[in-house]
Structure formats: C-alpha cells, structure tokens
C-alpha cells in the first residue's frame, strides 16, 4: 500500500509536467489543424533558454521558464508566419514534411550552436524531499507541478476571458465565420501557434529544473507528448492536462507490477485500448 501511494504521488507530480508540454501541441492542432512534429524541439529550445537564464542571469529555471515561454512564443510565431502559413491549406503530407523538416533543422541548429554537451542546472532544492510519514514528496517535482498548475490556470484565463482567447476559440470553431466578425485569421493562427510552442518551451524550462538538456532532449519526450495529447483528445486543452496526469500515473503504477523497462508498454496497451473504445480521447469532443 505504501508503495502504491508513493507511486501515485510520483505519477501525479510528473504527469502535471507532461500535461504542460503536451498542451501546446494540442492547442496548435485544435486551432490550426496541423500536427506539429517539431513541437518537442520547442521544448528542447525552452530548456536551453532556461539554462542560459540560469547561467548568465542567475534565474532559477522555474522563473527562467517565463523567458523560455517568450523565446518559444517568438520563434514559434515567426515559424508560423513565414513557414507554416504557407501550408495551411496544403495536403497533410506537405504539412508533415514541413514540420518534420523544422524538427531536423532545429535539432541540428542546436547541435551547431550549443554543441552536444549535456547541460544541467543546480538548484538548492534539487535533492530535497518532503517526508510525510513513509512517503517522500520530491521538492523539484512538487515545484514543477505547482508551476504546471499555475500556467494551466493562466492559459484557461487567457482563453476564456481575453479578446484574443475568444478569437482563437472562434477561429478554431469556424474560421470563416470568425473572419466575418472581424477576426484576422492569419494573426490568430500566428498567435495560437506561438502560444502553443511557447507553452511547450515553458514546460521545457520546468523540466530542466530536475533534468538535463542536449540537442536530442526533444526526442526523449516526443512519443510521450503525442500519447498524452491523443489520450486527452487532440485539440482539447483540458484533456491534455488530464491526459498528462493519466500518463504519469500509468507509467508510475506500472512499475509496481512490471519491470521498469516495459513501463511504456503498459502505457501503450492502455492507449490502444482507449483508442479502440473511445477514439476521441478521454475528453475529446467535450470541450476545447
């Protein structure tokens, strides 16, 4: 029982962070209808941004993640405006080629600019944990989870309460109708894409507080990210967060009964079962 609760705690905390990196992917798909295969590379870039903020400005990566968001937003918005916008109405194959191409370019650009070293930060709380009876609550995971919650609430506020949030949702529902009401679709696409890549980059910043970054860090998370999004329902923001926590819990609990080597096996078995019986995802279709 102790092991079960411990695994549950770890799973929920890690899962919250999976949710934040996946929410950007979901947002991009929900609004632009594009599956961005380069999304995980924005996470890697966010990790670098947070690393530089830590190294040269002395910012804790949890704060530096804000800087990651800005970098992710800026580069994402530019990429959308000058590259993605051109394939908005093109066949899916072209869109896939473009985003996979961006993935390769970003990974190699990072290698060229930053070299292959693993970079890590050191924070005072990195090796701390709160001990509650027999349970350990990892402080870096808890802090990361807290930041994930904060940013989820902020995103919800932006989407629900601001003009641009409403414009994004309107465009996602019906781009033409939104246009008639004076919403500039091109601008909305640019902002939504930037917001999506920015959130993923933000997630990268938080992950850096307990992990390390190298040009191939994105590849480590890409499959997880897609699993989270599909589990939660492609295009659903709330679903991505719930999907993230679900993935974290499944990964963590599966290690109680199975070897760690196959922790993703349990994940994918549940994933396939869910797709078979509920192809729209956990929350798919229910909300956006």
């Amino acid at each position: 029982m102790i092991a079960f609760i411990q695994a549950l705690i770890d799973g929920v905390l890690v899962g919250g962070v999976y949710g934040v990196i996946a929410v950007g992917l979901s947002l991009v798909f929900g609004v632009l209808g594009i599956v961005n295969f380069a999304q995980a590379e924005f996470m890697m870039m966010g990790m670098y941004a947070a690393w530089f903020a830590w190294r040269y400005l002395g910012l804790d990566p949890l704060i530096g993640a804000v800087f990651s968001f800005l970098v992710g937003f800026g580069i994402g918005a530019l990429a959308q405006r000058f590259l993605i916008q051109r394939v908005m109405n093109a066949p899916h194959v072209s869109q896939i080629f473009l985003t996979v191409g961006i993935l390769i370019v970003m990974e190699n650009a990072a290698l060229l600019l930053f070299g292959a070293d693993f970079r890590t930060v050191q924070t005072p709380y990195q090796t701390q944990s709160l001990q509650l009876g027999p349970f350990f609550v990892s402080v870096p995971y808890l802090a990361a989870f807290g930041m994930a919650l904060v940013v989820s609430v902020a995103l919800w506020l932006v989407m629900a309460r601001t003009w641009i949030g409403r414009a994004i949702r309107a465009t996602a529902q019906n781009a033409m109708a939104a246009g008639i009401f004076g919403v500039d679709a091109k601008r909305v696409y640019m902002v939504a894409f930037g917001l999506g890549t920015g959130l993923t980059a933000f997630g990268g910043g938080i992950i850096l507080s307990y992990s390390s970054v190298s040009p191939t860090s994105g590849a480590q998370y890409v499959v997880l990210m897609f699993t989270v999004v599909v589990l939660g329902g492609l295009g659903s923001v709330m679903g991505a967060i719930i999907g993230g926590v679900a993935v974290g819990i499944i990964q963590s609990l599966s290690t109680l009964v199975m070897p760690i080597q196959v922790q993703n096996l349990a994940l994918f078995v549940i994933f396939i079962a869910l797709l078979t019986f509920r192809p729209q995802g956990l929350l798919g279709g229910a909300s956006r």
């Binding site: 411990q6 770890d10 292959a116 050191q122 990195q126 090796t127 992990s211 760690i260 080597q261």
Partner: protein, 398 residues
C-alpha cells in the same frame, strides 16, 4: 608496393616543389577517425577527437612517420548511429584511401564497422567494450580496452574487496542497467560475479535509455534493502538516479558502470553530490598527468578516458605503420598485432602499454576503480594502480 611508394614520393616532391616549407617529401598517410560527432552520443565522439588530435601533435613534433618520410593526416567520418557505419567505412577506404581506422566509441557502431573493415582488409583499433567485437575470429579488429563482461565482473569484485577491507562486507547488491548493448553486456558480468561470490542480488532491473523519471527505479532500490547499488548508465539517466537517491536520502555506496559516471558533465550536473561516487573505468587521466594537463589547458575540462584511450590507439597505429615501413594495410595489420607500445599515450593506460593477443583483444589492460574527489576523479583500486585510497562510508580504506 615499392614502385607505388616511389611514385608517391615523386608525386609528393612535385607537389611540394614550389613550397619553401620544410615538409616531408611523401604524400601524407591517412588514418580514418570514425566517431559520432552529431546525435546523442556526440559528446563522447568529440572527446575522442580531442584526444586523437592531441596525440597527433606529439607525432608531428617527432617528425611524422620517419620510415616513410611522411606526415599523418586524419580523415573524420561522422557516425551518429550504427546504421551509418558501413557506408562511412566504405567511403573512408575507397575514396579517402585511409590505411587504418580508429573508432567508434559506441559498441554497436564498432560491431557494424568492423564487419566492413574485415571484408576490405583494413585494420581498425577500438576501445568499445562489447564482448563480440574480438570474439568473432576477425583478423583486422583490435580492442584496447577489456571486454564488457570483464569490466562488469571487476566492477563487482573490486567493490566486494573494498567493502571487505573496510570491515563492512556486502550482503545484498542491486544492479540497474540501461537496456542497450552496453548496459546489458556489463550487467551480465556483474550478475556472474555476484553468483561466483555468492552474494544475493536483491534487485536486477533494466530500464529504457531515454527514461524520463528515475523515482520508480529509486523506489525499488530502497524497497530492496540493498547495501550497494551498481547502476550502468549513460549520462542523463545517471544524473537522475543520483539526484533521486539524494532526495530519498538513500545513502548507500554507488558504483557506476563507466560511461555517464566519469565525464566532466557529471560534476557540472551534481556539484557536491558527486563526492564519493565510485565507477569502474577502462582508464583514468591521473595515470598520464603530463598529457592530462595539456588536455585540460586546451579544453578547460579534465581528459575523459575515451580521449586518452583513442589517443593511445591512434599512436599505436602510427607506430605500427612506421615499423611496417609500408602503406599496405595488410603489413600494417601484422605490425599492429606484433607491436607492444609502452610510451606516449599508451603509457597512461592501466598496464602501461598497448598490445594485443591472438584475437586482437588487449593482452595487458585491466579495468580500474575510480572515485570522485572534489573536482577530480582518482584511481583508487586495485592497489597497484591506485593514486589515492578508496573512501567507503566516509572512511579511508587502507
């Protein structure tokens, strides 16, 4: 062959005729360096390159290959993954006309590359660990480090001996390993050694290399009650395991399996928490202080073992070419097999030399035990190689 070298010499003289520099007359001898310079293992490839280039400085200072009157030229081939190895070797040999190859750090890449060098009849020297490298009966592949199974076995045996000397014998051990060729092979060595020593292994668990959360692993170590853990990891996984162990206040000796535990980045990532972490290693820079100091001055970090070992492999090959007095890969292969080289970079390896047995496996090297002390890694075991005493549970072990 003789005619060909005259021709080469003539061509060389013609080419250098207009130059006023004091250059050797013959065309340079080309040696291929096959390493990952991009992709996830590129840091190790870059360290290898730095080591080989430092070794080349010494060769140039000594006048190149004297018997041929020729300089040495390096030709790099980037192999980010094993599937790129065959084509890269083919290109090095047929287009760049290299007479020998050193590389390629990653065991699975070396396995793939050596099949091609064998077919083409070009000698290759590697430091990769996998057992199969020199157990296939190949003639053209040489391994300067011990096999993974030997390394795993020593990793276990040395730890048991140190614990015994410290008066705290090991009763329960845990083995954790990443599930690719390297981790799997080394874990087998650990397991066999544990069986031989009749010490129960209470946890024997593999994990995927790209693991994103180490807490399940550490939960299992804690639950197993082991008094010693042997993690065989690359870098990112090593970092997460040590950090999570500290979080859970799990304070048992940790004996890493080389790779991720003995790179400069390990210190950068963990700071004070590296103190006292052990690892098995095929070589360490404290046995070659002069070379290590030059390396540090140039690159700002300590010399990783792969830099030292590939520098030695490269110098061994150049010396063999010198002794063979030939550019013929077959003659060079025989000279490599016959040569026992105990100076330069080779002197820095455990055993003090590079030399090979009939299978091409090192006949002199032995794995060593290293421990983090401050900013550095010190060789602590076996006693004949040690530069400092091992520290076990906070106490010096005599």
């Amino acid at each position: 062959m003789f005619g060909k070298s005259i021709l080469a010499a003539v061509a060389g003289i013609a080419a250098f005729g207009a130059s006023f520099e004091y250059a050797p007359a013959a065309e340079p001898v080309k040696i291929g360096v096959l390493v990952p310079l991009s992709g996830s293992t590129s840091q190790f490839g870059i360290n290898t390159r730095n080591g080989v280039e430092l070794a080349l400085e010494d060769i140039k200072a000594a006048g190149g290959i004297k018997s041929l009157g020729a300089d040495v030229e390096l030709v790099y081939a980037d192999v980010p993954a094993p599937n790129a190895a065959a084509a890269a070797v083919q290109r090095l040999v047929s287009q760049d006309k290299v007479v020998g190859i050193v590389g390629s750090f990653v065991s699975s890449t070396t396995l793939a590359a050596s099949e091609v060098t064998e077919r083409l009849g070009v000698p290759m020297i590697t430091h990769s660990f996998a057992d199969q490298i020199t157990s296939r009966g190949y003639k053209y592949i040489f391994q300067v480090s011990n096999k993974a199974s030997t390394i795993g076995q020593k990793q276990f045996d040395y730890a048991v001996e140190i614990a015994k000397r410290a008066g705290k014998p090991i009763t329960k051990a845990a083995i954790l390993y990443e599930d690719t060729a390297y981790g799997t092979a080394q874990a087998k060595g650990l397991r066999d050694a544990a069986a031989a020593a009749k010490i129960p292994v209470v946890l024997d668990e593999s994990y995927p290399l790209n693991v994103t959360d180490a807490s399940p692993l550490v939960n299992k170590i804690r639950a197993s009650g082991a008094d010693l853990v042997f993690p065989v990891s690359y870098f990112n996984d090593a970092l997460m395991i040590i950090r999570t162990m500290k979080q859970q206040k799990l304070d048992i000796p940790t004996v890493g399996g080389a790779a991720g535990y003995i790179v400069p980045d390990f210190k950068k990532g963990l700071g004070e928490f590296t103190e006292g972490v052990f690892s098995i290693a095929p070589a360490n820079y404290d046995n070659a202080p002069a070379i290590a100091a030059r390396y540090k001055a140039k690159h700002g970090m300590f010399m990783a073992h792969e830099a030292l070992m590939y520098g030695a492999a490269f110098q061994h090959m150049v010396k063999a070419i010198d002794e063979a007095k030939s550019r013929d890969p077959d003659k060079i292969r025989d000279a490599i097999a016959k040569l026992k080289k105990c100076d330069g970079f080779s002197a820095g390896l455990p055993g003090g030399c590079t030399a090979f047995d009939a299978n091409g496996l090192t006949s002199v090297a032995f794995p060593i035990f290293v421990q983090w002390k401050g900013e550095d890694i010190a060789t602590v075991y076996p006693p004949e190689a040690a530069k400092a005493p091992p520290v076990w549970h906070g106490k010096d072990v005599k």
